[in-house]
Every structure is written in C-alpha cells, then in structure tokens.
C-alpha cells in the first residue's frame, strides 16, 4: 500500500484540524513581520513588531545578576560542585529551592497580603502548558469554559486544541470599559445551557490580556460568587501580575477568597515568569491549585513540560535573592510606566485614544473612528493597511474575539526607545494622511454629483494602491519557513 495516497487519513484529527486557531490575523501578522523585520539601520522600512507581548525593558538587570552570580549557572568553577545533583535531578516535583523561590515571588507580587505554599507549586511548560494542564484536569472533551472577551488569541490553542474543550465567550463592552459583569456571565452561561453545552468553569486573565487592566475587588468577588453558585471552576491567569505599574493595584484571587465564603476547591491559578520577569525563553509556567486532586493530577502532568534542572537551579538562586527581586520589580514597573506613558500620550497627540490601563505589556488602542464602517471586515481592512502600508504589526481586536470592531492591541515593551519613536512617527503620518484622504474623499463626494466617472476612478486608484504587488497580504500563501512560529 502506498503511504502518500492516504497520508492525511493516517494522521489524527489533532494533527490535521484547525482548532489550534493559528490561522488568524494575529498569527498572520507574525508572518508578515518575520518576512520583513524592522532594523534601524539594515531595514529601516521593515515591519515593526508590536504584536509580541515580551518584556525587554529589564534585560540589563537580569544580565547583571547572572554575571554577578556565576555559581548559579552550575557550570562555573564556583557552581560545579552542585552539578552531579542537578544533572540527575529528575523529580517532577521540582527543586525545593525553586518552588520556594517561586512561591515567595508570587507572594511578593501579590503585595505580601497572601502567602503561597511551596508544596502546591506545580511546574509546567510555560503558561501555555499551565493553561492546558489545568484544562486537562478540569474538563473532558466536549465540555466548555466561559472566557470573558476580548481574550488572549492563544487561548484557542491552549485551552481547546488537544483537550477537545470549547470556549464560550462572555462579551464585554467598551460602554463599561470592558468590565466583566455578573449579568454577562449569567447570559453566556444560560445560552450555553440552552445549547446543551456543559460549562465546567470560567477562566479570566488578571491583569487582562489584551486590555492591560486589572480586575477590581468587586468584580472579583462577584466572579467568585458566580462560580460558587454554579459549582463550576474559576481559573485565574495571573501571568501579568507584576507588570502593574500604577494604581489600582493587582489583587490575586488567592487574597480574595481568604475572606469569602466559597469553595476553594474550585479555584486555580496559572502563573509564569515569562512576562513578569521577562524571560519567556526559560519556559517556566506554574499551576497553583487549591484543590488537592487537581494539584496531584497536574503534578503528574508536569512530566509533559518540565523545566530543566539547570534552569530551576538558576532561578531558585535568583528568586531567593530578595534584594535583587525587590529592585527588579521596582525598576521594571518604573520603566513600563514610562514607556506606556510615552506611547499613549504620543498617540493622543494625533487624536488616537486608548482604553485606560495600568498593567501588561500592551494597551488597547481605539481605532473605531478610522473604520469605514463598524464591522469586522472593516477592521481587518484597516489592519491590512496598518501592517502593509504603515508597517506595524499590531493585533486586531477580532483575533481576541472582541465583540466590537475597531480595537487593536499594541505591545510596547519589546522594543527600544528609538523604535518607539519610529513607530509613533509612522502612526502620526498615517493618521495625518488619512485626514487628508478624508478631505479628498469628501471633495470627491462633492464631485460625484457632477461627475460619476471621476469618483469611480479615484476609488479604484485607492484599491490598487492597497493591492500593489510589493506589499504582502497576510492571506497570501507565504511559504511557511521553520522560523514562522506563533508566539505571544
């Protein structure tokens, strides 16, 4: 039997289906960036990456620490004594010092108002792996989770792909600053019930990705009472906890349930060091569950995404260095705050507003006034112009399942000050151009009455401009190089 003939039939549904959700503009933007990345001198007209939630503002602090603590890398003359122990350390519970370090760090990020038990810290392959692990533990194929939208584009993959779960969005609206309300939760829940979908829980990101806002105490309490009433789970994705740079402060769900009458077996936290410490390359994700069964189960599952013992050892030393951590957190939020200010104020000056926010590595830009009409199609059209003409990879709201078109997520912490300047200048030019065009089109409307043919040709010109061959449409079949990869 020839293999190639029924090749696809021989693979699983998971290998061949689209449920990873990586065929959305969010990920297309990545491809556009990868094929033409901006560089200040080598490629000054390339695409600037503003779709990557990476915290590069404090690399220097980490670098300094690693150099000052060579023994932590276990492979220097100072650290080599530990080598034998580390190389063979294959206990999936993780190094004790590592778990203690992470628990302490999480407590510190939560304002020291709550303590985390090192014995409940479960390792996993990044927050991606942590979210998936929790889903594997809490739900069976066909079950569903409620997710307030807009939500992180990767959730489609992390929560659904291998687990076979479904996501039921809970629509949040700009009219109340995208707050999660009990009414919206109830509505989504009822709707799912009516469609015979078994809702197993709610997952929220606090601080929110893509909004960059933190949940207030009231919202959190109402969330907890909602899930408690329904006897379903609450998963809190707190991976951006330490990126909060001004008030209101971040409150961990662990703190909320301390003084609430609720079943803590329903509460689970996902954490990671990728955003807060800015080292996604270390692949550290954490599951912290208050439910013993879930903790034990996810610990067994951590075999599928363990952090190398060498990295654990390095991080244990780093996170247990109180002075460094304190200094790092202070400096990091100072730098994030400054960058956020520069960006949002710069945009305000050209008349672009954004949702007020105080956390995350991004903000939620309001481009609704620039849409031709308030539809997703118009949003995607605008996004294409931004990526192909303005050459900025920002992520459209529709890839975060936002129920209102016209919002874009802009990441601001993965570039240097110079690039920020270039990006802001490009946006300014674009908006100004748009205004001129508006004037022109108004004029052409005027002409339309007199001369129909003229206005038609001007429209066509505009379209051709959009389609010009040297620009890469995100939907064109760009060959998928091995470098094309989905990232946050």
């Amino acid at each position: 039997m020839e293999f190639t003939r029924n090749n696809r039939q021989l693979l699983s549904k998971i290998a061949t289906n689209d449920r990873h959700g990586e065929n959305s503009p969010y990920f297309d933007g990545w491809k556009a960036y990868d094929s033409d990345p901006f560089h200040p001198t080598h490629n000054p007209h390339g695409v600037i990456q503003m779709g990557l939630a990476e915290n590069q503002l404090c690399f220097d602090l980490i670098e300094k620490w690693i150099l000052e603590n060579p023994d932590a890398s276990i492979c220097t003359a100072e650290g080599i004594d530990k080598f034998k122990y580390i190389a063979n350390f294959q206990d999936y519970h993780g190094l004790k010092e590592f778990r203690e370090g992470v628990a302490k760090f999480m407590g510190r990020v939560g304002g020291n108002r709550v303590t985390f038990d090192p014995n409940r810290i479960v390792m996993s392959g990044g927050a991606t792996g942590a979210n998936e692990t929790v889903m594997f533990c809490l739900a069976d194929p066909g079950d569903a989770f409620l997710v307030p939208s807009p939500y992180y584009a990767g959730f489609a993959r992390d929560l659904r792909w291998r687990t076979g779960l479904d996501i039921v969005p809970v629509d949040c609206k700009s009219s109340n600053n995208f707050r999660i309300t009990r009414a919206a939760l109830e509505e989504a829940y009822e709707k799912a019930q009516r469609s015979n979908i078994n809702v197993k829980g709610v997952i929220v990101a606090n601080p929110s990705n893509p909004l960059g806002t933190v949940l207030d105490k009231e919202t959190m309490r109402s969330l907890v009472s909602f899930i408690n009433d329904k006897n379903i789970h609450l998963v809190c994705d707190e991976i951006y906890a330490a990126t909060v740079f001004s008030s209101p402060q971040f409150i961990s769900i662990a703190e909320i349930i301390q003084d609430m009458d609720c079943n803590s077996d329903l509460i689970h936290i996902v954490y990671s060091l990728s955003k807060d410490m800015g080292f996604p390359g270390f692949r550290v994700g954490i599951v912290y569950s208050f439910n013993d069964d879930v903790m034990n189960c996810s610990r067994k599952m951590s075999s599928f995404g363990l952090v190398s013992s060498q990295t654990q050892f390095l991080l244990a030393a780093m996170l247990n260095d109180d002075e460094f951590v304190g200094n790092f957190l202070r400096e990091s939020s100072k730098r994030l705050s400054k960058r956020h200010h520069v960006f949002t104020k710069g945009l305000e000056r050209v008349g672009i507003s954004s949702l007020e926010s105080n956390a995350g590595l991004f903000f939620w830009m309001d481009m609704r006034p620039l849409l031709k009409e308030q539809t997703v199609e118009a949003e995607i059209e605008l996004w294409r112009v931004i990526i192909n003409k303005v050459k900025l990879n920002v992520s459209p709201g529709s890839s975060f399942q936002c129920s209102e078109p016209g919002w874009f997520r802009v990441c601001f912490a993965n570039m240097d000050d110079e690039t920020v300047g270039v990006a802001l200048e490009r946006i300014r030019q674009f908006v100004l151009q748009g205004k001129e065009k508006d004037d022109v089109s108004e004029k052409s409307k005027h002409w339309k009455k007199q001369n129909l043919r003229l206005s038609l040709s001007s429209v066509r010109l505009y379209d051709e401009n959009l389609m010009s061959p040297h620009m890469i449409s995100p939907h064109s079949p760009i060959p998928q190089s091995p470098l094309v990869r989905a990232r946050t």
Binding site: I14, G164, D229, G281, L306, Q310
Partner: protein, 544 residues
C-alpha cells in the same frame, strides 16, 4: 465564530453509543426467544432458557469484572484508559442536578456540591499504589548511603546513568563558563532570555542531529530540519501519540515495556495500548506472529490500530532488535498501513557485541514508506543528563513535523539549557570519549552484576543494551503468578531494602521477572546488593 461554537455539541456517535448500544443487542435476543416459548416449547423451554440466560449473564459479568480488575492492577499508572467514555454519561446529568440544588439554597457553603473535575483525575489515586511508583518513593525517602545511611534503600528501579557523570562534570568545569557566560565578558542575554523557537533553536537541532549520528557510529546521518525538540522524551512520545492516533485508536506495544508508556501514550490522548507479549522462550524477542495476532484481536474488538511502538534497545529487557526483525516490522507496517514509533533512547548505551541498528538506517531516501517511521530520542540516557529534559522527535513525515512543531510549544526546552548543550555536543572529541568510556564502564558494571546474581542462582537474559539486568527470579516466588511476584518485590523492598521493578509493572506476561538498573551503583555497592538479595532468597527458598 461564536455561532459555530454554540451550535457544536458533543459527538453524536458517542451519545448514541451510551444510549443505544446494549439495549439493541438485548432486544435481538429476547424477541426470537419469546417466539420459541410461546410457540412450541411451553413450560420446559420457558423455564430452562431464562435460567440458562441468567447463568450466562452471571458468568459474563464475573469474567468482565475480573478483566477490568486485572487491567487496572497491571496498569502501572492505573489510569482510566479512555477518559471520554467514562465521563460522557455522567456529565449530561450530574452537574445539572447540583446546580439546581445550590441555586435553591441560601448559603452554598452549607451544602457544597461535589467538585467535578475531569475523568483524567480519577486515575491518580490508584496510580500512586503501583509498585513501580511506591518503590521509587521509598527509595527517595530513605536513600542508601554507605556512610550516612547504611540501612537505607538502594535504588535499582530508576533508569538513570551515574557511571559517566564525572566526564560531563569535567567538561563543564573546563568549558561551560564560556558556553553560558561567554567568559563573563559578553553574556549574550538575547540568546537566553527572550522567546526562542518552541521546537528548539536551529543551532541546537544541528548539534543534536550530529550527536545522534555520532552515537550511531555514523551509520546514519540525521537531517536537522527533521528534528523537533521537546522537554524530555515523555512529551516527545505523547506528541507523536497525539499526532498519529485519535482517542479510542490503539498502538501495538510489545511487552514487557517501560512502565511510563501507560502515561505517555495513553493518559491524556485517550489512545489505547494493545499488548504484544514476548516470552522468555524467545529471549523476549519480538515475533511478527505475535504482532499479527495482536493486530487481529484488536480488530475484532473494533479498535483501529494506528501504529507500533518499539523500544530499541529495549527497556526493561535490554536486548536489541535485529536488522532482520526491523525489516519484517517495516513490511508489517506497510501491509497493515500503520505507523512505527521507534524509541531509540538508549541507542548509545549499548555494552555487548551485538550491533545496534537504527530504524533510520533501513530507510532509502526515495522510499515513500519513510513517512510512517518516527524516531524518539533524548539526551537523558546517553548523555546522562535526565534533569536537563531534552527529548527528540525525528520524523520523515512533513505533516507530523508541522503539527509536532506547533505542539512543542506546550513543552519546550529552556534557552539557557539549549545554549549550554550546543557547546557540549559540538565538542566532537569530548562526545566520542564520553560514548566510548561510558560503554566500557557499562559493560563492566553489567558483567559484574550479572555474575553476582548468577552466584545467587539467578539468571539474567543475555542483553546488549540499556542500563538493566532482566533477571529471572521465578525460582524464588512462592506462587507462580503476579501475587507471588509482588510478595517477593515487597520482601526485596522492605527486608532487603533494594528497590527493583517487578515485571508486572512492565506488563510482562510471565511472573517472576525483575528489572535491576545497574547504572545508579558504584562497583563497591554490588557486594552490598548481593548480600541483601541473598538474605531474601534464602528465606524464600526455606519457605517454599
């Protein structure tokens, strides 16, 4: 988008199965029976047939119950083989019930409904009772040390190699500072800290591919672009399982096999394992006839077989698969149109005179059947770095590679570890020395251990690879079954204080076989181990 989400309900086939399956079959039997009874048979048949039916029903239930018990016990990880089927039935009713309850009550706390987790969680409690894990735990809690804890448990159950760690350590002491810290001058933080390709950096893939062909004595060259790197061999195997089979499909796996396979292949994927028994009369070599038989049995059970998983060198037995058998395996896979996953984790850890043949060696570049072959490798065994968690998927199938790259995101290797290993593996001279010396030490350790056991009257299967002795202790067990085997295991653990892996944890079809992992020991530990085993073997013989 949201519309489609809502309209999607659970798979109709499965619901049908739950609702209909049994009922239909029963009706098919009862209706003709009624005809017989009412028509001619009268009272006699009318009473005999129901009695007979009842008897057979009892018999059937009894057999079935025994089956499931056996399965759970022999299942080292004890997990529910298919979390789907068990949970579907309950989900439709139970949550609704508690919801209505909690809504009606003023304080939800006063009546906490049970917390509904996934079907996968249920296997966990049972899992920790399996001898494999109990033994590992005991050895971890009370580890033997010649000086500080001479009465502790000696670990012979964990497949790790401590024989050549000194070599790796020396290399690190000499070179690693430069590898990671670049001599402390120009630490390239941008290679360590930010997002890296999730399936491993190209640099690391090149290094790993080079290492693999060096381990296999340059008989094959591996193409770095066919490599996907994962955080250990465990996720590598799981990812392949996810890619090649749907929940409810099955893989054929020769027994005895590595106890972790139940977790790696089955647990989260819902894929089933069909045992292909190998026997001591064949030196536990795989026979194609047994494979054929298992395939047919699976088919009869209505299972779709998607592939074969072989381990070469085998864990726990340590034997190698001959070139001839590999060719027959390929033919078998072609004939049945299924995949082959070849686990070659121990390729470099051979110690006998037999030749190791990689599956990769057999494949011609223009062979379209290459697409059904997938190799699993890792650095935990051959490089003695289990804590570094580096696993390798090497596949000839572009679609599998594409999916595996995406899936690698859930289990990728930390960048500083990649950085360090790139420089270690690129040092070809060091790698060669390591492989050669490690083989020598392995060989000497193995020979000494086998000789020691022989003195006690315990024979081992002749093997040429791996860290293990596969020993026949059936002469020491009181009853020739699993119970007898576990009694001996218990004595070894609690009286002799050595943790070994009983054959039943590896689903061995014959009782009385044990896996001794010799690479965790030093030479002077061997007499201690033999003394301890002797004590137990004497009492066992006396009791017989």
């Amino acid at each position: 988008m949201t519309q489609t989400l809502y309209s999607r309900t659970r798979s109709p086939e499965i619901e049908k199965e739950i609702a209909g399956g049994g009922g239909g079959a029963a009706m098919r039997v009862i209706v003709p029976l009624q005809g017989v009874v009412q028509g001619r048979g009268g009272l006699v048949l009318g009473s005999i047939i129901p009695c007979a039916l009842f008897y057979f029903l009892q018999f059937y239930l009894k057999r079935n119950r025994k089956d499931t018990d056996d399965q759970n016990n022999s299942n080292s990880s004890g997990q529910n083989p298919n979390p789907r089927s068990s949970s579907y039935g309950k989900l439709s009713e139970l949550p609704g019930l508690t919801r209505s309850l909690s809504r009606g009550l003023p304080s939800p706390r006063s009546l906490r409904g049970p917390v509904f987790v996934s079907g996968r969680v249920r296997g966990i409690v049972k899992d920790s009772d399996s001898p494999y894990y109990v033994g590992l735990r005991r050895a971890k809690e009370d580890p033997y040390d010649e000086l500080s804890n001479p009465n502790g448990v000696i670990q012979l159950g964990l497949a790790e190699n401590k024989l050549s760690l000194d070599l790796v350590k020396h290399w690190l002491a000499d070179n690693a500072e430069q590898a990671i810290l670049r001599n402390g001058k120009e630490l390239s933080i941008s290679q360590i800290v930010p997002y890296q390709p999730f399936d491993g950096s190209m640099e690391f893939k090149v290094a790993v591919a080079g290492f693999m062909s060096q381990v296999m004595e340059k008989a094959v060259s591996f193409n770095p672009s066919q490599v996907v790197l994962t955080a250990g061999a465990t996720p590598a195997i799981e990812i392949l399982s996810f890619c090649l089979a749907d929940a409810g499909n099955a893989f054929l796996v020769p027994t005895p096999y590595y106890p972790g396979f139940d977790r790696d292949i089955k647990w989260r994927t819902g894929v089933e394992i069909i045992h292909v028994p190998c026997r001591s009369t064949d030196n536990f070599n795989l026979s194609i006839a047994a494979l054929d038989q298992a395939f047919d049995q699976a088919k009869k059970r209505g299972l779709k077989v998607r592939g074969i998983v072989i381990s070469n060198p085998s864990n726990p037995v340590g034997n190698l698969i001959s070139r001839g058998t590999l060719y027959s395996l390929l033919d078998f896979a072609r004939e049945k149109n299924i995949h082959i996953i070849s686990n070659e984790l121990l390729a470099g850890s051979t110690h006998g005179n037999e030749e190791f043949v990689s599956m990769a060696e057999l494949l011609d570049p223009d062979d379209s059947d290459r697409k059904r072959v997938h190799i699993v490798y890792g650095l935990s065994k051959d490089l003695s770095l289990p804590g570094f968690w580096v696993g390798v998927i090497y596949s000839y199938n572009e679609e599998v590679l594409a999916a595996a790259k995406r899936l690698a995101r859930f289990s990728s290797i930390s960048a500083p570890t990649q950085c360090l290993l790139v420089s270690m593996l690129s040092d070809a001279k060091f790698v060669q020395t390591l492989i050669t010396i490690n083989r020598e030490r392995l060989q000497s350790m193995y020979a000494q251990f086998v000789a020691g056991l022989k003195k006690l009257g315990v024979e081992c299967i002749k093997s040429s690879g791996g860290f293990y002795c596969w020993a026949d202790m059936s002469g020491l067990i009181r009853s020739y079954n699993k119970k007898g085997e576990l009694e001996l295991w218990d004595k070894l653990l609690n009286i002799a204080k050595v943790n070994v892996t009983p054959g039943s944890s590896c689903h061995c079809i014959e009782p009385g076989w044990f896996r001794f992992c010799v690479t965790t020991l030093t030479e002077k530990d061997i007499p201690v181990v033999m003394d301890r085993i002797q004590k137990v073997s004497e009492t066992s013989k006396l009791n017989r």
